[in-house]
């Protein structure tokens, strides 16, 4: 009897030892540190087992197998930064549009185009037909070490270099060979390297896209939830032939009737919409919610606020106050309590915000831009950098949430057109270096081709950004009373009647007036009955 416990101890030890050895065995059989989601291990390719001195050298190696990849890239917006809107005929794309953030890439290519998926677009001489200038790695890097520093026109650093020259700042070299051997599918990090930082910093431009989406919690994005569904950008932006689905120039405001798309079929429209997976009638429990989905974009209820990941987005940028210097003549930077920059001599005043309630508009997918060539109307309250088309009655519009970004930026007071300053650049005319508007504008328009009379001032502008990312879990979607209430979220939006929010004051006055009269009538009648009964009873006595 006394031996029993010892035997148990022995058996437990044995089992433990077997477990440990099994673990060791498993480790020996599984040398790969990461799960490969591709059938090709690029580190085994001889073409990549070498030193690379430049980006284009890597591209040539890629193209030796992926022979058609560069040709596919050449057809895309990611490459051309140019897009002709088939509906409006406007020539758009980053190459052409003016916005109210950093305004224009013209003359600022070396800085802005570090986000171009190519190497060396520093000015108009860039060869858009060159295959080796396509940057494969910027989208296919899996190491996180691939960097395209601002100022180098999209080129990479393979030998430590001082930049800007004479600044004493050293740009560290990256190991292209190691990076090339680890290429894989694009990821939230590769897309985010540029798209999280639109407008020049984390979360600045979009409001619904920032680095919190690199590994978000469920509450920030129910689909990208890093410990849940774990979608990448490409899960929705289903890409075919390197052409990424989804567009801000021609967004899909309202999907065609019918259920979910067969994603990938060429005639089924945009695979990046909610409806493409969820269909037009996504609510299983409540038909009334599906009724709402005939007028409301999914985003309206399911993205209750944007900039929810703890990173503030810019809501206003006033260039007109830029250029101040402190007593010593140095540039000024002012920050708020949270460390957000609220004023910079180079850029002017900023307003930033987190957890922002969107503005709501009718939107039919058509976007009109105020281009460099368009005359401005100085009498208008605000110049719309872009105007979202839509109305409650056109049958193509849905109510959409947007980020409405305000600004003040330079325009030509004689020609009445928006101006494009030369901002970035370590040269005498760059505004961010010398804080001189006239020089910066002269240099900028030389590249953009905008006529400049020499007379400029600042005009109030506004730009609308449809909100579509940061979809909240359904428990956090907007409830009825967010809108069905006095001064609810859709107050002021034309063409809708919402019970609980809209009332006809005259009808209410008339109705309650009649109710009151009726009440007074019956009370009066009753009173007379009571009084007269007393009298009759008195008389009968």
């Amino acid at each position: 009897m006394m031996q029993m416990p010892n035997r148990f101890v022995l058996m437990a030890c044995l089992a433990g030892w077997m477990g440990f050895s099994a673990l060791g065995l498993a480790q020996a059989q599984d040398p790969k540190p990461v799960k490969l989601n591709t059938t090709a291990d690029h580190s085994k390719f001889k073409e990549l087992q070498r030193e690379f001195a430049t980006g284009p050298e890597v591209t040539k190696a890629c193209l030796s197998c992926h022979t058609e990849a560069a040709g596919q890239i050449h057809r895309t917006k990611h490459w051309k930064w140019e897009y002709k809107n088939p509906d409006t005929g406007q020539l758009l794309g980053k190459k052409n549009v003016v916005n109210n953030f950093c305004i224009s890439i013209a003359s600022n290519e070396a800085a802005c185009n570090s986000c171009h998926i190519g190497y060396g677009w520093k000015d108009a001489s860039f060869d858009f037909k060159s295959e080796e200038n396509v940057d494969c790695v910027v989208c296919h890097d899996t190491t996180g070490n691939y960097k395209k520093p601002s100022g180098l026109a999209g080129n990479v650093v393979t030998k430590d270099m001082e930049f800007p020259a004479g600044s004493g700042k050293i740009l560290k070299a990256i190991d292209l060979s190691k990076i090339a051997q680890k290429v894989g599918k694009s990821s939230r990090d590769t897309c985010g390297a540029c798209h999280f930082n639109g407008g020049g910093g984390d979360g600045v431009k979009h409001g619904d896209m920032d680095s919190s989406l690199a590994a978000p919690e469920k509450s920030v994005d129910v689909h990208m939830d890093a410990s849940g569904l774990d979608f990448t950008c490409g899960t929705c932006h289903k890409t075919s032939s390197h052409d990424v689905a989804g567009s801000r120039y021609t967004p899909t405001a309202k999907d065609a009737k019918g259920g979910a798309h067969l994603r990938g079929a060429s005639d089924n429209g945009n695979p990046a919409t909610c409806v493409s997976c969820h269909s037009n009638v996504p609510h299983k429990q409540d038909a009334r919610l599906n009724q709402h989905a005939t007028k409301l974009a999914c985003q309206t209820c399911h993205i209750p606020e944007f900039a929810r990941g703890g990173i503030a987005t810019k809501m206003n940028w006033d260039w007109s106050t830029a250029g101040q210097r402190d007593a010593k003549g140095e540039h000024i930077v002012r920050k708020d309590a949270k460390g957000h920059i609220t004023y910079e001599s180079r850029k002017g005043d900023f307003v930033l915000a987190e957890n922002v309630k969107p503005v709501y508009v009718w939107f039919n997918g058509q976007v009109n831009y105020t281009l460099k060539t368009d005359k401005l109307d100085a009498s208008a309250d605000v110049t719309r950098i872009n105007t979202l088309g839509g109305s409650p009655t056109d049958g193509k519009s849905m109510i959409w949430p947007i980020k409405r970004f305000g600004g003040k930026q330079p325009y030509d007071t004689v020609n009445m057109t928006l101006l494009t300053p030369h901002t970035a650049g370590n040269d005498d005319t760059g505004y961010w270096k010398n804080l001189e508007w006239d020089k910066a504008l002269q240099a900028g328009v030389k590249v953009s081709g905008v006529p400049y009379s020499g007379q400029f001032a600042f005009i109030k502008t506004q730009m609308d950004w449809p909100i579509t990312h940061m979809v909240a879990p359904k428990e956090k979607a907007l409830g009825c009373v967010a809108c069905h209430a006095q001064n609810g979220r859709l107050a002021g939006l034309t063409g809708i009647y919402m019970p609980g929010s809209h009332t006809n004051a005259l009808l209410d006055k008339l109705g309650w007036g009649l109710v009151l009269l009726t009440l007074l009538g019956v009370l009066g009648h009753g009173a007379i009955r009571i009084i007269s009964r007393g009298k009759t009873q008195g008389a009968s006595k």
């Binding site: 069905h484 019970p499 009332t503 009649l514």
Partner: protein
Amino acid sequence: MTERVYLFKGFERFWHWTQAALIIFLMVSGFEIHGTYTLFGFEKAVGYHTIAAWSLVGLWVFAIFWHVTTGEWRHYIPTFDKIMVVANYYSSGIFKHEPHPYRPTALSKHNPLQRLTYLGILVLVSPLIWVSGWLYLFYGDWAAWGLGSLPLEWVATAHTIGAFLMLIFFISHVYMVTTGHTVFAHTKAMITGWEEIESSKH
């Protein structure tokens, strides 16, 4: 001296009180949805209002069947006969404690004023509420029904007008209930079915 007449049959009493409860509840939840006050919260109010509306539809299916099959619908045939006499009673005779000029019987339990009132409810208020209410419920199908250009505001306004008219009827109705030979005589009748009527002096 009073005599007793059996005016309200079992189903009729059940119909009346269930309908009364539903209509009161529909008014309470409806005016909340309208934005007049907050009681249940908008979302719950909408849910309750919808359930109560469908319950009333169900009740009406039975009520219509009952009225048609029993011939009880004849009580609602409008007439102007003796209407001035009844009107005169409510505007003066009632104060002099005169007996009611209309004597309800099991075959004809509504006086001409009642018949006219219920006609108004049946041809004006009810259709207004039902048609607008149903449209409201099926708002999502309007486009499929070819009603895509119908403004919701019209439907909502019609429904609200119907609600106000129903509330006005309700107030008048509750008051008229008190005008029996005692204040609760009519209420008692709608509970027991037996109306006590002051016997006329011969």
